[in-house]
Point group: C2
Chain length 130, copies 2
């Protein structure tokens, strides 16, 4: 599966031929910092080594609300990553130590568009004719 | 379409019967503050009044990278919101004034799960048997 992007944009996952899959993980952190950043960084690195991984977008506000969207080639790839041992351990620790609550949604990406200010002002959705 | 949530969680959109749709908007803000917060707040309020609107999750980090995921009943509802006049104007202004680059993905939510620390430590994906 090849990326449609000709340039990379920090923080944004590439665009791909659809369909592919998104895992939308929205979480409220508590105030426990111990071990969190190290584990989160380790999981980002480990996820990127899994079959079918396409990219990730992640941010968290000062209020502790975070959204991480990871992109995958197939539902099978998502299921395999969920079974990965270190990932299972990290999820268990997240529930025990770091999260107040979260929601997780698995979604099939049907369309994707990108825009960069260097491209000009046109709406990419209009350019795509949809 | 009724929500599956028995309690609400600040910052998280409710869970719903699948399928429904997500619009994943990931954007890098520039440093221009003038008018942005007011317009963003106005669009959140206006979106919530549109047919088919289900909820929104939104956060932005100190580096200016933001992710907003809005949830909708159908692709038709998403298209109608995109045609809404004030929303069109706000998008044009966003491209002209406030964004460095963004990606927008439209995705069909096929599964959703939630967890709250008051519920205990079990993985909701395991509880769901999937």
């Amino acid at each position: 599966m090849s990326s449609h992007n000709t340039t990379t944009h920090p923080g944004l996952a590439p665009l791909f031929e659809t369909p592919y899959y998104a895992v939308i993980f929205t979480s409220q952190r508590n105030s426990v910092a111990l071990g969190y950043a190290e584990t989160a960084d380790r999981m980002v690195t480990l996820a990127a080594q899994q079959p079918g991984y396409l990219g990730v977008e992640s941010t968290r506000g000062a209020d502790g609300l975070g959204i991480t969207v990871s992109y995958w080639r197939s539902l099978q790839d998502i299921a395999a990553w969920r079974r990965e041992g270190q990932h299972q351990t990290a999820r268990d620790q997240g529930r025990a130590d770091w999260y107040e609550h979260y929601a997780l949604r698995i979604a099939k990406v049907e369309r994707n568009y990108g825009w960069d200010h260097l491209d000009g002002s046109a709406d990419p959705l209009l350019r795509a004719g949809s």
